[in-house]
Amino acid sequence: MKYSLIEKLKISELVVWLKNKQYKVVGPKAKENQFVYGDLDSPDELKLEHKPPVLALKKYYLPQEENLLNFSFGETKGKEVDVSNNFTVVFGAHTCDIAGVICLENACDIEPKDNNFFERNKNILIIGIECLKPCDEYATCVTMGTHNPKGGYDLMLTDIGNQYLVHVNSQEGLNVVANDKIFVDADSEYISKVNRIRTDKTNVFNKQLNVAENEIGVLLGRTVKSPVWDDIGKRCLSCGNCTNVCPTCYCFDVRDEVNLAVTEGRRYRVWDSCQLKEFAEVAGGENFRKDRKKRQQHRLFRKFKYPIEKYNRNFCVGCGRCSRTCMAKISLIETINSLAKESI
């Protein structure tokens, strides 16, 4: 659409201005030695330089726990819960996390559409930040092609020294940069500067996987019997951490809860994980994915194989969270590369 500029020193001012508009402003904040997305009570909590926060942006679209119905006990119909949210600005999301939102959108768009997602999506404005160096040894963003901005945001900041170049990608974004106390227009000179930055980036960003993005699914399909999987099955603790932190995992459980007077209740959904034993277990005891190996396979198939067939894209955005969080040190890079090595 267009490009603007913002002085780095004015980022705080921007946060304050957005907050004064009664928007909820959230962004990466420090938590102990890591980061989490959270409400920015003050602008200095914002950590534009960060590694992927513990949970991804999906918590703002499909929260960990979400009410579906409220009901009076004994009734057969519930009262539908209104999910329309406060207008929220997500400030400082990495491009991989933004790609994660696009994946969720794809999944939620399948009929019947997940209305809650779209209801919230309407009211979220994303200000992204481009990474100029890889986060750590776990990220696979280069392979997945998510290290460069590819849409899905309203504004994208690229660090060009004392300023950020701002790519404006939506009408809402335009409304924000219209504040000429904070933003100034950028001329074409800056655009070529950004292009230079992108070319330079290729020097610091290495491909982490030895397989091309669009071939991982095929590779997985070919190697289901590989001992690599047996090893993973032995190591996995089924803690569910890898799916909970993943920006694109969206499975959920539906639960009911009533108050102690057993008069009122709610039906709500909570994130569920295909790594848990009971996920595919039915009454009577049959379990369609009984062993850990099968469940881990299922997870990766759901990242690299089925979505390609269904949405023509991988559902991994290369953020590296699953590997980073795994206490058994099951690593996506290691898994894929070992499978690739074996299948040569």
């Binding site: 579906l68 119905l69 009901f71 006990f73 004994g74 009734e75 057969t76 119909k77 519930g78 539908e80 819960v81 209104d82 999910v83 329309s84 999944a107 939620c108 399948i110 019947p112 997940d114 209305n115 809650n116 209801e119 289901v224 969206y250 499975c251 959920f252 459980d253 539906v254 639960r255 009911d256 009533v258 057993v262 209740g265 039906r267 959904r269 569920d272 295909c274 996920f279 595919a280 277990e281 039915v282 009454a283 009577g284 049959e286 369609f288 994915r289 099968k294 299922h298 198939f301 759901r302 194989k305 089925y306 067939e309 269904k310």
Partner: protein, 273 residues
């Protein structure tokens, strides 16, 4: 509205019958006697607010208007609570969900029904539909198996089916009791003996997970083309909307893409059968 997909509609139980020690039959009317408008093979989510939901096959034919029937096995929390309900009680219904049997494709064809245990519930919907629209379909074979005679469902109806012309009905039990006069043995034993025109015949299978493997082998021996074998599969389900992920069979969602699948679609799919 936002969550209308998750909001059940009100229904009333108008009749029940304890069919066996663990299975109970329910006749249910929607509010204002609205039709459910289902296809045979589809299911509903039965909802008890405060307890949860369970997917249950619709076991009556859509030709019966103004009500529908379910057959529920007591297996856990919701089904136990359902068993406590009686005539006049209300419950919530969502659905119908899923792809049922491809009626148009089946028209004019011979049908071979193979049901194990509770698998008769979804098949009964189609069987009764076929009986009601008898002219539209060819020869009908029904094979029914269960563990013990006392577990047989719809016993009165089975007797009627036995007597209908143009329908061949056979039943077998794994273990007989002293009063049992019929076949004894696995349902797979009945398959070789049936006389069918393979080109014309669609086999329709529903039963416990382990039954499929064995039945499919026998059907293949009979040379029924994969495309003409229809199976109705069971998976854990939470939403019925193709969202929650529990029922996923590889890339397929059992609740939306199924529960009825033709065998050629899933034979390459790991873990489906």
């Amino acid at each position: 509205m936002n969550n209308s997909l998750y909001n059940p509609i009100k229904a009333t139980i108008v009749a029940t019958k304890q069919m066996t020690a663990t299975e109970k039959w329910f006749k249910i009317e929607l509010e204002n006697k609205k039709d459910l408008n289902h296809n045979p093979g589809q299911f509903v989510e039965v909802s008890l607010l405060g307890l949860g939901e369970a997917p249950i096959s619709i076991s009556s034919s859509p030709t019966q208007r103004g009500y529908f029937e379910l057959c529920v096995r007591q297996a856990g929390k919701i089904t136990a609570a359902l068993h406590k309900l009686k005539e006049g009680d209300n419950l919530g219904i969502r659905g119908p969900f899923g792809h049922g049997f491809p009626i148009d494709e089946l028209k004019g064809k011979d049908l071979l029904f193979i049901a194990g245990g509770l698998g008769i519930a979804p098949l009964r919907s189609l069987i009764n539909y076929v009986i009601d629209q008898r002219k539209d379909f060819g020869k009908v074979n029904i094979l029914l198996g269960c563990k013990e005679p006392k577990q047989l469902l719809y016993t009165d109806e089975l007797k009627k089916w036995e007597k209908l012309t143009g329908i061949s009905f056979r039943c077998t039990v794994d273990r007989a009791d002293p009063d049992w006069k019929g076949n004894v043995g696995l349902i797979t034993n009945l398959i070789p003996g049936i006389d069918i025109d393979v080109k014309q015949t669609y086999a329709i299978v529903c039963g416990p997970p382990i039954m499929y493997k064995f039945v499919l082998v026998k059907l293949m021996e009979k040379n029924i083309p994969d495309k003409q074998i229809l199976v109705s599969l069971e998976r854990k389900m939470k939403c019925g909307l193709g969202k929650c992920g529990h029922c996923q069979i590889n890339g397929l969602y059992c609740c939306q893409d199924g529960p009825v699948f033709s065998y050629d679609k899933i034979k390459k799919v790991e873990g489906a059968i």
